[in-house]
């Protein structure tokens, strides 16, 4: 049985752990608020971009010679899977969930006889994926130096991806990230970047542009050509922002649980400690009494 001193040490170590998890929870909560604000602020741009694209692409879809970013290369052989995860651990199932979704997708593609290339954003996902698909990873984007995610952080990644596409290194690109729904729920999402997914119904697209007849300057096709590469950057930026919010939300929940667990552990350890202490006192008393009786 553990001695009193051991128990005491144990209790104090759990207490200090609890202090850390509590602090981390609080930090995550404040970071979450900031991340959510950033995600919210980015929404108008993405929404407008989407509505313009939807309007333009529905008409351009049938036109031969449209940008391959919209209609694809005509092949489906090489897939680029972009996995966006966090730079730091201790955030519950956040990274695991994204990686799990990505891995499922990768294995499905491999089973279908496709070639898969992987681009990792964030080293936590990289560490896990490397184990199974190390030879397929083409690059790791480290964003650990980034404190506040800016559009300028997403742009170089997008440019690199576009350059690869231009060189014909892949046919389809999809981005894996966790969509933020609430502090408790983050949904791993697979978003296709290239070719750009087209809005499903034409009615929506028409509505989005107000049903008006637009004058285009220059022509529709050049606007679309200009817009599509920028859309890739916007989508990546948006994914990263969602990811940042999800990461903090997930960390907050995980740390809240850890704090509560630590509390329970402290309670049960304190009970054991008190019982042991009492048992010791009783034992000593019995020893004294029996000693006195023997005289």
């Amino acid at each position: 049985m553990a001695s009193l001193k051991d128990l005491k040490n144990r209790i104090s170590s759990v207490k200090s752990t609890q202090k850390i998890t509590k602090a981390m929870k609080m930090v995550a909560a404040s970071k979450l608020r900031r991340a959510q604000e950033a995600a919210e602020a980015a929404r108008p741009y993405a929404e407008r971009m989407e509505s313009v694209l939807a309007g333009l692409s529905s008409s351009a879809q049938d036109t031969p010679g449209s940008s391959p970013l919209l209609i694809g290369t005509g092949k489906q052989d090489v897939h680029l899977v972009i996995v966006a995860t966090s730079e730091r651990g201790l955030c519950g199932g956040f990274n695991t969930n994204i990686v799990k979704a990505a891995r499922l997708h990768i294995e499905e593609l491999l089973a279908g006889g496709k070639t898969v290339k992987i681009l990792c954003i964030g080293k936590k996902g990289y560490a896990v994926i490397r184990r199974d698909h190390g030879d397929r990873i083409i690059d790791l984007k480290d964003l650990s130096a980034v404190k506040r995610l800016a559009f300028a952080d997403a742009q170089p990644i997008a440019q690199e991806i576009l350059a690869m596409f231009e060189r014909g290194e892949f046919d389809v690109a999809s981005l894996f990230y966790a969509k933020f729904q609430s502090v408790l729920v983050q949904v791993p999402t697979n978003q296709q970047l290239i070719p750009a997914p087209i809005a499903e119904t034409d009615d929506d697209a028409a509505d989005a542009l107000g049903g008006a007849v637009y004058e285009y300057e220059p022509d529709e096709a050049s606007i679309l050509d200009d817009l599509l590469p920028r859309n890739v950057a916007t989508q990546i930026y948006r994914g990263l922002l969602e990811n940042a919010a999800s990461e903090q939300g997930s960390r907050m929940t995980a740390m809240d649980n850890a704090t509560r667990n630590a509390g329970e552990m402290i309670d049960s350890l304190t009970i054991t400690y008190n019982r042991t202490r009492q048992a010791n006192i009783t034992k000593e008393l019995i020893e004294i009494i029996s000693g006195a009786e023997a005289l």
Binding site: R48, F151, E166, Y216, E217, P218, I223, D226, A233, T234
Partner: protein, 134 residues
């Protein structure tokens, strides 16, 4: 008919401006155009240049430098999607010159069309901005 134009300028990071104005002059790719209330619906890409915002018809315009973007005029007003805006007062000329030299090098060093296009775009906006500032 409304007598003001609803203007929205959005960057990927946030909504930069949401205001009722009298007129906006936008540097379109095919030439500058002024947008006034009840303009016909149109869409245009933007070349590097100055967006002039006239709050009132007679007043001094507010000027914003924009690198690239898209302007859309619909029934609801003018929406400008712009990646990056630069405040003219905060331009650092030495930094700009360094950036220009760097972009020029990138143009020279570019090996394929795409890299060259990108580098040229970088050079172009810096050139335009330096002309405006000086």
């Amino acid at each position: 008919m409304t007598d003001t134009l609803h203007l929205e300028i959005v960057s990927p990071e946030r909504l930069l401006k949401d205001a009722e104005v009298a007129m906006v002059v936008v540097p379109g790719t095919d030439g500058d155009f002024g947008a006034m209330p009840a303009h016909a619906p149109m869409m245009s890409t933007i070349r590097p240049g100055i967006i002039e915002i006239y709050e009132t018809e007679a007043g001094e315009p507010e000027k914003l430098f924009v690198k690239s973007g898209l302007a859309q005029i619909s029934d609801t007003g003018l929406t400008i999607l712009a990646e990056e805006m630069i405040d003219l007062d905060s331009v650092d000329t030495t930094e700009l010159a360094a950036g220009m030299a760097e972009a020029q090098n990138a143009v020279n060093a570019a090996t394929d069309d795409m890299a060259r296009d990108q580098a040229e775009a970088e050079l172009e906006w810096r050139r335009v901005l330096s002309e405006i500032v000086s």
